[in-house]
Symmetry: C2
């Protein structure tokens, strides 16, 4: 199992646009083989901050995801909306 969390920061005034880009990405990604779950969250106190939590069956599925057209499209559409590059980390569940 592979768990990936990404922190994604919108530029001021672009949170709604970025949310739409991320929602489209989540919908397409959930149809990929090996995608156990893919969830999108928004910080309650700072609407500019999003987090995605991805859960993949294995490494191959997580890596194949990065080569899909919907990821390329999301990166292209989000390029002008991000306050900084997304911070993407892999995690091991301890308990």
């Amino acid at each position: 199992m592979v768990k990936i969390m990404a922190r994604i920061s919108a530029k001021v005034g672009t949170a709604d646009q970025l949310q739409e880009v991320l929602k489209a990405l989540v919908r397409s990604t959930r149809n990929e083989p090996g995608c156990v779950s893919y969830e999108l969250f928004q910080d309650e106190e700072n609407f500019l901050e999003f987090v995605t939590i991805e859960h993949w069956a294995n490494n191959q599925a997580a890596e194949a995801h990065m080569t899909t057209p919907h990821v390329a499209e999301a990166f292209a559409k989000a390029a002008g909306l991000l306050a900084k590059p997304p911070s993407i980390n892999r995690f091991t569940q301890i308990i």
Copy 2:
């Protein structure tokens, strides 16, 4: 539903000790009323970085959690092990 994510950074050399403190906290917390789930993760590339993901049935349960003896004990035991104050944020699930 209330979703809370915390980022917790260990001082160099204290990751294993901090992990034990957090595991004890998770085990006790899972027995609280209103705790839907409580998971502990460690960054695969930086073992000093932990994330907890808490899922509560409602606000009251999330707030009652902060007043429990096991939270007080975890704060006391973790005090000397943290590289910086934990970053704790509440999130709304978008999709």
